[in-house]
Amino acid sequence: MSDARRRGLGLALALPPVVLLAVFVGIPVVLAVGFSLGHVGGLNATIARIGTDTRVATSWWGTTQAWADVFADPRFVRDLVVTVGVTVVSTVVVVATSLGIALNLRLRGGRLATAFAGLAVVPLFIPVVIASWAITTFYSSDGAVRTAAALVGLDGPTWSYSVTAVVIGSVWTSLPFATLMASSGLQAVPDAMIEAARDAGASTASLVVRVMLPLAAVPVVIATTFTAIGVLGQFTVPYFTGPNAPSVLGVDISKYFQSFDRPQESVVMAVVVFVLASGVGAVYVGTAFRSAQTAGRA
């Protein structure tokens, strides 16, 4: 087959999912960004009519009035801070835990280490709705944690419907993917490298920091970015486990649209989350490309 024909065939095979996503995700995203800037014509007409206090574009590119409305609302600023906080804390806990499990598996191995890794993957197979609700029941005022504490005469904490529960739920649901990425990255570190570093007198700590983590950098960065993006925009976990206020932006988007009937503000918040997530995603794409180049695949 000629090169030109191969290129054409490749493009033709690759196009269907790209086109479908362009239509069913790309167009809504463009509509959303346009609507947040006050473009209320075309497909946005219905949503603009049913919403209250919709700001309308005053120039060819739009208006920042809806954005100003949202950022002037102290509740939004508070929720934005909470969302970023929950994301940072959850991501740090998830990455640290998954690295611990993966390092234990690579350096010490054995039945216990395998059991750890196996446990950490379980949440992958539990629907998020159930997980969130199970966590809410477990940490509620009549839940297992308080019951166990009461048995030994203690007054246990009630974490359900608090930001703590949102972090717990986020960690729970994100742990499997991060663990799989971290263990596969660390398993790929050659035995010879580890032995050479040990022969040269490296302690376990310096072996991990100087040799193993740099070699597993790409999967770890992927785990970090996926976790952060997932937690930033999540809805189900905070909807079930979190408090009414402050809530995270994923829940606010739904509340402002369905309960407060302010679709434009909800769309502004969605774009804010999108911008934050894109920033995180750029780190991933950058890292992955650099590694592809050093591997000579670019």
Partner: protein
């Protein structure tokens, strides 16, 4: 030295118990509620045991319909996703064409926009295209969440098949289609299966979009779960939660080796 080693083992064991409680505790606690008559705090055990809640769920026509809908839409979505995405995955792996990298990253980038915000403006589009309350509409909304799995993971799986093997088959006289079916596909199959599994979970789990497009005509198990939690006793939701977990847990047992073997992780490295 021995004491130190023993201490370390004990510490690891304690940590393991903590992780086990963290991961499994909520699930077991919830599952136990499915068989409880009542559960009064601070009793460690339920007041009594019963199967009553199971009959409540199994005899509820609405919940039965949700189970059927879920078992209909998720496999259908996976099938559509496989037909649309697997050829693309092969192309990403084996062909060099303009925009290849851009497309791969673009497919991933769709995940960065929060689903909830997407659905707000998706609704306008779906009304315009008359997709509301249709089977096609629900399948499309669930399909969106499967694309990354169904392109990236199989693409990595296809890439891991040595080209030399394919060339050898071609030299031995096999045509391109025969080479693909007899050589490439069998070797890439574990990766494809992981993609199918992840796509199934994504489709089966999808609730907000399905609710927006499908309700009230097509209610699935996750969408019912939202109203169940608010409107029924805790035990009914617990029964439903167990039912809802069965397909995923069955799949877990089937595909454990492939997922744990790094197929999933391999799929997310840009090539």
């Amino acid at each position: 030295m021995r004491a130190l080693l023993l201490g370390r083992r004990a510490a690891t064991a304690v940590l393991l118990v903590l992780v086990a409680v963290f991961v499994l505790g909520p699930l077991l606690w919830l599952a136990a509620h499915a068989f409880a008559t009542r559960w009064t705090y601070p009793s460690l055990l339920p007041d009594g045991l019963t199967l009553h809640w199971w009959s409540v769920v199994l005899e509820d026509a609405q919940l039965g319909a949700a189970v059927r809908n879920s078992l209909y839409f998720a496999p259908l979505t996976v099938l559509v996703s496989a037909v649309v995405c697997l050829p693309a995955a092969y192309a990403f792996s084996r062909f060099d064409f303009p925009g290849r990298r851009l497309f791969l990253v673009g497919l991933f980038a769709t995940n960065a926009f929060p689903k909830m915000g997407l659905f707000v403006s998706m609704a306008s589009l779906f009304y315009g295209l008359h997709l509301m309350n249709t089977v096609a509409g629900v399948v499309i909304v669930q399909f969106v969440g499967t694309v990354v799995f169904m392109t990236w993971i199989p693409a990595a799986a296809f890439s891991s098949v040595p080209r030399a093997l394919e060339e050898a088959a071609r030299d031995a006289g096999a045509g391109p289609l025969r080479t693909f079916v007899r050589v490439t596909l069998p070797l890439a199959l574990p990766g494809v299966l992981v993609a199918v599994l992840m796509s199934f979970l994504a489709a089966f789990d999808e609730a907000q979009g399905t609710y927006l497009v499908g309700a009230p005509v097509y209610m699935t198990m996750p969408t019912e779960m939202y109203s169940l939690v608010l409107n029924y006793p805790k035990q009914v939701a617990a029964v439903f939660a167990i039912l809802l977990s069965i397909p995923s847990v069955a799949l877990l047992l089937l595909a454990r080796r492939a997922v744990l073997g790094g197929r999933l992780a391999e799929g997310f490295q840009i090539r």
